[in-house]
Amino acid sequence: MLSLGIEGTAHTFGIGIVDDQGNILADVRKTYTPPSGKGIIPSEAKKHHESVANEVLEEALKEAGVEMKDINIISYSTGPGLPPPLLFTAKFSVELAKKNSIEIIPVHHGIAHIEIGRLLTKCFDPVVVYLSGGHNAILAFTGDTYKIFGETLDVTIGNLFDTVARELNLEMPGGPKIEELAKKGKYIRLPYSVKGMDVSFTGIQTVVSRLIKEGFRKEDIAFSLQETCFAMLTEVTERALAHTEKNEVLLVGGVAANKRLQEMMDIMCKERNAKVYVVPMKYAGDNGVMIAWTGMLAYKKGLKLEVKDLIKPKWRIDEVKWFI
């Protein structure tokens, strides 16, 4: 049985094909890059997806060595995300399904990040740390949904790192550059703001901007930024572990690739006899495979996920009845 998944919530338009054992048969993505120094322009992202969609589909089918008639279900990222690219992705997917008389399944983008992580790392019931440009949340499965235990009260860590990288004139994406610089840095005090299981980063952003203007060393800024933000995130993750009495941590999203973050989580977990799992780099960012796999899970479990609204830009993860 084959599932074809279509991702298009933000920068990336991707199509993945998986079978019901979780084997990945195709993974094709094309990513829109905003002009340097600029953030994403939603209407431009949509135009980008429009221009590459058919090509991505053809390549994916070719990579998997299958035809449309071999596909059993089609899933697509219904939300959360930016309305213009979401809408294009939804229409493209629904049309494709209709044309080929294939069942269509709406998929929550956040759940897809978690499920691809669970599939590839083989962890079972983790506290999920989901960190990217658009997301900054600590989640865990309780009852019949993934619930958000903590999140950012303002900007996401991905956003903060990108802003700092731009101000430091680093190449984008800024995360890896900051990680590199931090290796030779010394500590400068930055605000540390944790409230229960929530974090706040705007205080750090303000101070770092000032430090950059005042000409402090890039290395020191990068080091202090990482140490402070990651300590905050590790602290709230530990609190979530204690609260939920779970013993696995799963890092997902682009920021999960950071080695220092992984190290800090690892030290924290070892002390509590817990274990850290990191989604493989290749699948940390947005991709169609995670959508295909999550659609497959929903289908196999017989979850009735009807497409009522074509897109759900603000879809909350705890609105989705799920299972693990």
Partner: protein
């Protein structure tokens, strides 16, 4: 040294200080963060918790008395309240006693809020009942704030905790918390309205 709780942030143990049995809260070193951050956080939080505890006590809210503070080692030596968690007695109380106790709890929270003290972790596990008096413990997540939003979040947390642990008594408990709360806090109405609003928008705080 008898450890009675091992939390994510601190350990609690019984000890003797100047000849009496005391409770020590020690914020433990976290090897995952660099020493500069670790030392400062533990010191800062110890200082803040002591301030909240003593301030609450000063305005007449039962809290453990602080005997000694060792900021360098992030230790608070305080009175050991040898009672029972409210969480563990609710199921065994008569209706009259429930009413009495939760009105008292409401009065105390009203007092805290009227002095801008936010407890930050109001659950029935953090309330100890001893000789009909309810003591508030663990101000580790507390802070000072004038904002109605923060007070609403504080109370909403308690309602959520009651919903999760004492569901059959939720209405009775909440009603009486509010009766007590409004006795001591003039802005009670705004806060209660906020609590409903917070509940409606889910767990998300105002951006």
């Amino acid at each position: 040294m008898e450890i009675i709780k091992r939390g994510a942030e601190a350990i609690l143990y019984l000890d003797y200080f100047e000849g009496r049995k005391v409770l020590v809260k020690e914020r433990i070193k976290k090897p995952y963060r660099i020493e500069e951050i670790d030392i400062e956080l533990r010191k800062e939080r110890t200082r803040r918790e002591v301030k909240l505890l003593t301030e609450a006590r000063k305005i007449g809210v039962p809290t453990p008395q602080v005997f000694f503070v060792d900021e360098e080692n992030a230790k608070i030596v305080m009175e050991f309240i040898d009672g029972k968690k409210v969480k563990d007695v609710v199921d065994f109380l008569s209706k009259e006693d429930l009413i009495k106790i939760f009105q008292q709890i409401g009065e105390s929270i009203g007092k805290l809020h009227s002095f801008d003290i936010i407890h930050g972790d109001l659950t029935t596990s953090n309330m100890i009942i001893k000789e009909d008096l309810v003591y508030f413990i663990d101000f580790g997540l507390g802070f000072f704030s004038k904002r109605i939003e923060d007070k609403g979040v504080d109370l909403n947390l308690l309602r959520e905790a009651v919903r999760a642990t004492h569901y059959p008594f939720l209405n009775l408990i909440w009603e009486n918390i509010v009766i007590g709360y409004k006795k001591n806090f003039k802005d009670w109405e705004k806060v209660i309205k906020k609590v409903d609003e917070i509940e409606k928008r889910g767990r998300y705080t105002e951006k």
